[in-house]
Symmetry: C2
Subunit: 411 residues, 2 copies
Amino acid sequence: MSLIVQKYGGTSIGTIEKIGNVADKVAACVKNGNKVVVAVSAMSGETNKLIALANEMSENKHARELDVLVSTGEQVTIALLTMALLDRGCDARSYTGAQIRMVTDDAHGKARIKNIQCENMKADLDANRVVVVAGFQGVDENGNITTLGRGGSDTTAVAIAAALEADECQIYTDVSGVYTTDPRVEPKARKLDRITFEEMLEMASLGSKVLQIRAVEFAGKYNVPLRVLSSFEEGEGTLIALEDDGVEQALISGIAFNRDEAQLTIKGVPDQPGVASKILGPVTDANIEIDMIVQNTSEDGFTDFTFTVHRNDYQAAHDLLKGVCADLGAKKLKGDDAIVKISLVGVGMRSHAGIANTMFATLANENINILMISTSEIKISVVVDEKYLELGVRSLHEAFGLDSDGHLKNL
Amino acid sequence: MSLIVQKYGGTSIGTIEKIGNVADKVAACVKNGNKVVVAVSAMSGETNKLIALANEMSENKHARELDVLVSTGEQVTIALLTMALLDRGCDARSYTGAQIRMVTDDAHGKARIKNIQCENMKADLDANRVVVVAGFQGVDENGNITTLGRGGSDTTAVAIAAALEADECQIYTDVSGVYTTDPRVEPKARKLDRITFEEMLEMASLGSKVLQIRAVEFAGKYNVPLRVLSSFEEGEGTLIALEDDGVEQALISGIAFNRDEAQLTIKGVPDQPGVASKILGPVTDANIEIDMIVQNTSEDGFTDFTFTVHRNDYQAAHDLLKGVCADLGAKKLKGDDAIVKISLVGVGMRSHAGIANTMFATLANENINILMISTSEIKISVVVDEKYLELGVRSLHEAFGLDSDGHLKNL
């Protein structure tokens, strides 16, 4: 007997019929001898409807009350799903975030989970009852309703799985698993059977938006085996877990990319201690998130400093930097918002040299100029002109043997 | 400075615009130097929509989950109204039934309030904050969400007013007050400035559906002055309070009626101890509510036993009684579901003889045959053929000087 936490997103429970299908899946899992906790999102579109209602009511953002409002979305689905389970002879009980005492901090709209009271859930599971929990929501220490922010239901599920020491946390979604890259860009993209937490983090943050990144961090931290699978198709999905020593690791697990980047370069900055924080300080103070940062070795006491931001923040960051450049006595400010980032991800690269070289050679072979490079233990990212996105991804996908019919070509 | 509890029903807050109007009213009350608690219902139609969703999901009634579902309706309105108040510079905070700890028994769908935790509300009121509470809902001792049943928001408001010892509980609705009778039947019906709790109870239970009867009971028990007034028109409405010794009481406050009655008579029952419970026992066991009961003095050891039930329950009660009649050796079972009840209500009748006689004479004058009579301290009810409803109500309304241009005629 296993303890399974399942999570169903909005598209999986978008209609009464689909909620019925989810109830069938849950009931089948129970019949197979498992104890099950289910976390659910609001029916697809409902959260947006509630936010639209708030916007119609007020031009201001009243964070506490917005959480009171939008948290009703999940409350509707837990009740409906529990009814459907009871109809299937599957004993079940619903809980809001407040009832489960999913305690968070008080950052309304983006709260972080602090702890979970498991007594109710454990009692229900012991009584062979399915526990249906409203995802995305919690309460602060004072009992105010909070929400975890978009995609927070994934985090709810993983946090419950961690607290209950579940055997597996299954995230049901509208894709059948994690792919080597986005199949819309490379039709030969292959579903991965297994990927490590670290790889998934790199994939997720780089644009493969299957799972909420915080959920993956949480799962990695507490070592909760996480499975992404489809609500609509049969299949084993992709297991996200610790590195498995017994299995030969693929060199590269996948190729992520991000179209939302813009690049800013300050050229000829006097190379002094503290220069980086003088440049980035005003940017982060303006709540602009910075992604890649590259600084080259200094030449003649001057250095070039480059970083990327979300494309929506490009103009604001550019305006800010004009002042910074003048203050620092930098020579020139350059910017480009027609760039993309392409990243190779794989724990295998830790033990293999030559990956970076193969990457650069493959791109050179296609006459793709690399504008910026950044590397980590399990990732190599390059920035290129946005027109090269598809060509770059496809050539790398083939070169690293990721195609569904593929084999290693350039190594 | 007064402490006022206001309650706004679904039609008062049916749209974003109307919620804004309610916020204006509340803000004005605060500006006049009052501390205010507001209890609200769901936006009109929302509760029915949620129930329809439940019916679409399941043919069975899952009472606990239905309460989880429908309680979201009020949660939406408390958030929106609080946003609107904040926009008007009126500090405010929303609370669900669970957050206020409106503790009820566990009778889902028709729960009764047991106690209310006032600490949060008092702290907010002390900080000059408007407290916005979700009506209609509570939690049982174990934290399960409960609802008080239709119209329960009135009870929420009165219970809070009682717990906080408020100066007045104002029920805003779509009528401008309590009338001497239904203006749709008698256009000359007059709004009452004042009525006692007891009179209001008789009026409400007899079909003047302005206020939930439980709310009036509650208000009377804890002596909470209750005011019914319109959300849409200016005016003082009707104050429901203890009898005011300083003021000359009207003989009759109003004429209530009920079209939903059906009458059942068992004729020739052997007159023995315990016969009433043998007749009514099976009916109440079948969850059929009994309204009027009349038993005449016995003749030759036999008696006639008559009672009324809701018209929807007529057939079921009739079927049940067939068996009972056989068991008791009664002579005959008669029934009539084309009857109505008309009632005079007034605390004044306690100290005045002749009211009943005037009533019967007035009806006789119109050739209206009385089928059944039942009296209490402050009420006289008669059952007549349903075709006489309008004529009966109007002639009594005039006879007792209730017409807007009226004067006492027959006394």
